[in-house]
Amino acid sequence: MNAKARAAVVLLVPFFALFVVVMVVPIGYAVWLSLFTEQQSGLGFGGTHTVFSGLGNYTAALGDHAFRDGFLVLLGYCALYIPLLLAGALTLALLLDSALARARRFFQLALFLPHAVPGIIAALIWVYLYTPRLSPVVAAMESGGLGFDFLSPSGALPSVVNIALWEWLGYNMVIFYAALQAVDRSVIEAATVDGAGAWRVATAVKLPLIRSSLAMVALFTVIGSLQLFTEPLILNQGSGSAVTSSWTPNMYAYTAAFGRNDYGLAAASSVLLALAAALLSFFVTRLSGRSARSGRSGRSGRHPSRASGPPAAGRPVRGPRPPLAHPEGRP
């Protein structure tokens, strides 16, 4: 017994030591740093010294309209990107899961491949495809009467959303598809025998059964969206786009640290961003938990009992947690 305890410690220590060094300590250090500010001493001869400023950096960040605008941009980004991503990935997964699809392996692979492309390279490619005169896409759209200036002020948000969508659509589709494949086929068969068509099977049987993966994907998409950085940075890099150097909160923190050397402000805005992420994940988890509960009780009435009965109750989710996205994927 003792030998087992010792082995467990030996196996766990490497991970947790690094976990503390790379995740816990930096969070604490960021909070600490955010409480201090650099001040010019006297006549400016003595260089700068660090003074405690309490929540001064936080009020400075929140009082800066560039920082607040960053959150507005994020809000618009999420409002456009998340519904498109979830609806698109779900639709593709349901189509692929329907018995009508051919060449499933090929479709899965081809849709997934953008995940192999680093975010920065995806952004580079799309900036080329957005640039008038260079881009076959813009040319084709113009000849089709759908001219759109991706690099104009109003085009900035859709351009970034499209890059993110391209990167993550197939990835999340595979997660949904995997969850759909795990749905007990006898449930679907029972619903069909009871006269439910493909549309009704998809919306009333399959969707409720994979809602836990839906919630997970939503959660990780929200967290990933808050960290938006690489794609707008490339658009900002001299492409003539309307994206500014503090377009998103993350870009604001980066510019504060490396453009203005204001580490206190950078740390405070990082902490605020992390807090927003924590709040939102809590919110999304609660929301999906509640909808799952109400969904379960609400459905039993209007559903063929065979479809929502034993399998849904006896096997509410697969495994300890539903299929997860790989959250480190977003650079």
Partner: protein, 311 residues
């Protein structure tokens, strides 16, 4: 809506016994008209359209990488006009004394060594969580799951400030060490460990007198090998694609990974268009290893994304 029952039910794993006698009852005209949208042609055409969207930029990357600067900036990117792939490759190899291939080597080092070590660390922890009972286990695992939710870019700046305080900034370590931690990998490893390693096998080895660590090393690791590949593949991709951390940590060009080097070159290209073909060709080469890995290791990345349904 109402498909013919055969097409409606038959998933890959579905039994083929469906009663056709049911069909006539559900075929109302309204339903039949919607039926057309769910024909095999429509479904496959929709999927093909999505594939066009995902593959088109990659096809563009291939054709664009074969062009010289003039051909690239002249538009009409999908033709092979101004074909100069060999020229691009040789310029890529000579520009800045071959710095590109140094970046490539750095990326291989960061991603290869980082992912290998990270996989070992994750699997050790996941195995311990799965196979041993100890006080506070679920609380500790809860901390791991919380770590999954931490936005990594919010950590990059504090990490940089810590690293500059300790003098690690602008070294290989500054990029390599943070890449060793992946809480999600521990979660995956726990799932794989319980799916692939039967307790009886461990018990048998113990009865033969093997020590606990020996059991892990020679039985556990071997049995969980397919899961090792999955964790490695995802971590390799994450490190290879990582941009923010090296951007913050590194200022010495010779330590750059490919992603950061291409970013620097792209910055040059706006003043000096001869850099455009280098950026495009360099991007193509940087994407190739991962494309090859994902095409050849399909079983493994699918297993990673299905992890929750393994149990």
């Amino acid at each position: 809506m109402a498909l013919s029952p055969r097409t409606a039910v038959t998933g890959p794993a579905a039994p083929t016994s469906v009663r056709p006698s049911r069909t006539p009852a559900v075929h109302t005209p309204a339903r039949r008209s919607r039926n057309r949208w769910l024909s095999p042609t429509a479904v496959n055409a929709a999927l093909a359209l999505a594939v066009l969207y995902t593959l088109f930029p990659l096809v563009w990357l291939v054709t664009a990488a074969t062009k010289d600067a003039g051909g690239l900036l002249a538009g009409d990117a999908l033709s092979f006009e101004g074909f100069d792939l060999a020229g691009n490759l040789s310029r890529l190899a000579t520009e800045g004394d071959g710095i590109y291939f140094r970046w490539y080597g750095n990326s291989l080092l960061y991603a290869g060594a980082g992912a290998a070590l990270c996989t070992l660390i994750c699997v050790a922890a996941g195995y311990a969580f799965d196979k041993y009972r100890f006080p506070g286990k679920e609380q500790l695992f809860g901390a791991v799951l919380l770590g999954v939710l931490v936005p990594t870019t919010a950590l990059a700046l504090p990490l940089y400030l810590l690293a500059s305080r300790t003098g690690v900034v602008n070294t290989y370590w500054s990029v390599l060490v943070p890449a060793l931690v992946n809480p999600f990998g521990v979660y995956l490893a726990r799932v794989f460990s319980s799916a692939y390693i039967p307790d009886e096998a461990l018990e048998a080895a113990r009865i033969d007198g093997a020590g606990e660590l020996r059991v892990f090393w020679s039985i556990g690791l071997r049995m969980v090998a397919p899961g090792l590949v999955t964790v490695f593949l995802f971590q390799f991709t994450a490190i290879w694609n990582n941009f923010f951390l090296p951007l913050v940590m590194l200022s010495d060009q010779r330590l750059f990974p490919v992603s950061l080097g291409l970013y620097a070159w792209n910055g040059n290209a706006h003043g000096e268009p001869s850099f455009y073909p280098l950026v495009v060709t360099g991007s193509l080469l940087a994407v190739l290893p991962l494309i090859i890995a994902f095409v050849t290791l399909q079983r493994h990345w699918k297993a990673g994304l299905t992890a929750g349904s393994v149990q």
